[in-house]
Symmetry: C2
Subunit: 525 residues, 2 copies
């Protein structure tokens, strides 16, 4: 498949009439000659959105099995892109082959997980309250399910060019919910986006779906994204990226004549807490694991451990020394884009020049590469200047010395919302952990013990979300089956004739779904 | 229990230091002398909110059984207020005894329904993904539940002084979710609010809960509500009222340093569609039932049928004549407040003076009472001036003549989001209904056939919600068990020791809950 840099709209390609731009080779920071990509114009955005709106009723009326088959087909066609996809993604993102192969597997698995969820019908949350004609007053038949909200705009993320981009978690969960999707490609990996977008477009055609179910738009700047979020037919937005970017979309969405929800996964420093028993028992090992987690993938994970809290003392000093050694030895790495590298350098520069911050390690130097950085600050100084605890996206972390448990509690209480908070503990730390947990639960979507947060398991029980500003909507997750809820809304039917009800709610339960009937959950047949 | 007009904070009463105001007798529009009510100051708001925040961790850690008992106790203590409550509510709201007795029963039943939901543990949505140590890479144990978001601000609604006020649906669902509640009393029924508030306060004390679990604040104006929505500890807002009021709260919440969700149930004209078969078969009966529904309780229901769509023709003319007769004969009624009456009169005035609107009936005249009004407009004129279709809160409705089915579809497509849309149909109308349903489902939270929307059944399958501007968040309902979801957020625990997990997630399932284990739903024990 040769790339053309065109928009994917209406089941075909068309050259965007907006500004043109080129992809960049991340490692070399040099333009990739072919193809030239063309940004969408506002007319292109209109067309994609209107087709998505037209496709909605047909797509959502598809049988669960056909919707699931379509998601499976998307997975298969992404896999079938083979090395072409991996090599293009390596060039555009600077991420290594093994990482991208793993990410491709995750992307396909996510689509298949949502296919299985669609087949089960569980996300429909079907409920039936039979008529009670004898009751005074009589009750008519009521039933309930959750249907898709309508067309969804998805913004590709720079740091997961496959798993959180064109056919990533947001797209998969929206399609599973029965919502057409219009994707705004991330300009850092437009070729990767086009490859995946074409695979989805082919799956749409193979399934005989209306072409408006999927569209892919390019943009060198911000106009397309703004127009998408403001377009009247768009009913929800999925975004993973910077806090500034996410908040800009939230603001646009709230200012619409009809405001819509924005699910923006934005920023988190993922605090880790070293409890005294763990620090004493395995400080050196933890320091190594911590450095490995913080510098993994050049630190470009939403779940990067950016803050390490401990009680001050010789044990933490030893931990700091070991960690500093590891950070110093960690190689400088290629970042996703030159802009992300510059932002990282500015962020580290600001911290290292702060009078209350000690620089423990600055990694090994290399031009055009991000040097891992380990910094240290006293909790009281962090409390005085909370900006020291803000995310610096990249391979850095900040050690925080707490004078005592009370100060540790204060730091936890003052934290902003987080994707994750981790406790490192031994059995002897259990009582202290128990007293910290209520505060921690209030601040994070995922609470870990004795591990590092950089791995995110895709399953029913995961939460990749958390209170603001980790996300713009802390009642949701962007990873795992529960992500589908973001794109569903409940609808009740009262006294509607059985033949007019969706199959999922018909009397005879023709789909054999698990349903709540007269308050009691009845298993799937 | 004698009323004092004081704020209910910290388990006791204290005189608000803000402006004082009096309750009004709705029927006579005369002040009720005793007591004088005192608005909260910003310091009072702070105190109530800070106590709510302090109470949160204790309250949410309560066993499910104790939380359920507390809700049952709230119900019992409201019932125990007896005629004192009914008589005060009659005076303040102008609503008749039977209606308020029914509403009291609904209020108690709602609390008991949420108690049962809490006991079942179903709303926790417990999920367990066991460790997979053999897998490569190995997976650690993950589990998931939904916990309360934190302190919730509830705004009492004027039109349901019991069922959507101090201990109404918003409060009951928030308390069931484990969230402390700070209520801003509606100034139209402050005495009713104080009576119910004291009952809840006693239930809090009887259950040995931290006093901050519940507070009741008075306000003559808007300052207390604004301060509440902006208070940093408040995590969500429940509101039922006007569109202007709801949007003002949404705006305040979005402008916070940490934005929070506002669940505002605001405005709906609840379109009814008379399909040809139904109109031919039982037009006269439908006209009577329609008039009864539109003038019930002086039209002061969120679900009042404000728009009646039909194909034009002699059958609809006959329907209009019958309905006009009924509206003309319907008595003028007492409205909840003088302000609501004035707004109704202004709204009707605007419509009756519009050149394209025909006034079919203006009810029987009486000073200081709302006269039912029936109006009529052609669909093309409504499409030209959508403001003709906006809600006029009170006993009025608008008939809409559609030239053909295509125009009917256009009107449905252009509708704003609604709480309900109703089809009146005979079997012969089924095919037409089938083609209209996709559009209707997209616009309403509840779709009815052959009934009127003014009754709202409180159950698992109800949706009292709908796309904007029916509500500010169309992914939710404010009535029924699903209302609890508004005040929950998911939290995941990864690799946490069993003894540190909430009981709901412990390995042995000590609460015997229904849980999802390794993807499969296991029934409650």
């Amino acid at each position: 498949m040769s790339l053309t840099g065109e928009l994917l709209i209406a089941g075909g390609t068309q050259r965007g009439t907006g500004a043109s731009f080129q992809a960049f080779d991340a490692a070399g920071n040099t333009p990739i000659a072919q193809p030239v990509f063309h940004s969408a114009s506002s007319a292109d955005v209109d067309r994609a959105c209107e087709l998505a709106d037209e496709a909605f009723d047909v797509y959502r009326a598809l049988s669960l099995e056909k919707r699931a088959q379509f998601l499976d087909e998307c997975a298969a066609r992404i896999e079938a892109l083979g090395d072409t996809l991996i090599e293009r993604a390596m060039a555009e993102s600077g991420l290594p082959r093994a990482r991208l192969e793993g990410e491709r597997a995750r992307t396909a698995n996510q689509l298949r997980m949502f296919a299985a969820l669609v087949r089960s019908g569980d996300a429909l949350d079907a409920r039936i309250e039979p008529a009670l004609p004898e009751r005074q007053p009589p009750r008519t038949h009521l039933c309930f399910w959750r249907m898709g909200v309508g067309p969804v705009a998805v913004f590709g993320a720079s740091n997961f060019p496959l798993a959180f981009s064109v056919a990533g978690g947001d797209t998969a969960s929206a399609l599973a919910a029965g919502c057409p999707v219009v994707v705004k490609a991330h300009p850092a990996h437009p070729g990767t986006s086009e490859l995946v977008g074409r695979a989805i477009q082919q799956a749409v055609a193979a399934a005989g779906l209306p072409a408006g179910v999927f569209a892919l738009l390019f943009d060198a700047g911000y106009d397309v994204g703004s127009a998408l979020v403001q377009h009247p037919v768009i009913r929800a937005v999925g975004f993973t990226g910077s806090r500034a970017g996410g908040l800009a979309l939230v603001k646009l969405a709230a200012a619409r004549a009809e405001p819509i929800p924005v699910y923006a996964e934005m920023s988190s420093v993922n605090p880790n807490v070293l409890l005294p028993g763990a620090l004493a028992a395995r400080g050196e090992m933890l320091a190594r694991e911590f450095a490995a987690s913080a510098t993994l993938g050049c630190g470009q994970f939403c779940t990067n451990p950016g803050l390490m809290l401990s009680l001050e003392g010789t044990a933490f000093d030893a931990f700091a020394a070991h960690a500093a050694h590891e950070f110093s030895a960690a190689p400088a790495g290629v970042m996703l884009t030159a802009g992300i590298l510059r932002a990282y350098e500015r962020g580290i520069e600001r911290l290292t020049q702060h009078p209350q911050v000690t620089t423990l390690a600055r990694g090994s130097a290399a031009s055009d590469r991000a040097q891992p950085a380990l910094l240290r600050v006293r909790a009281c100084d962090l409390l005085n200047d909370p900006s020291l605890g803000e995310e610096v996206f990249g391979p850095s972390s900040m050690l925080v010395d707490c004078a005592d448990v009370a100060e540790l509690r204060t730091v936890l209480r003052k934290l902003e919302g987080q994707l994750t908070i981790t406790l490192h503990m031994e059995p002897a730390d259990a009582e202290l952990a128990r007293t910290l947990l209520p505060q921690i639960e209030r601040k994070a979507g995922r609470v870990l013990a004795n591990g590092f947060p950089t791995g995110v398991e895709v399953c029913d029980a995961i939460v990749h979300g958390g209170p603001f500003p980790a996300t713009s909507d802390g009642r949701s997750t962007s990873v795992g089956t529960a992500a589908i809820e973001r794109f569903l809304r409940p609808v009740c039917y009262q006294n509607l004739a059985d033949e007019l009800l969706p199959d999922a709610l018909r009397d005879a339960n023709p789909l054999g779904l698990q349903r709540r009937f007269a308050r009691k959950l009845e298993p799937a047949k």
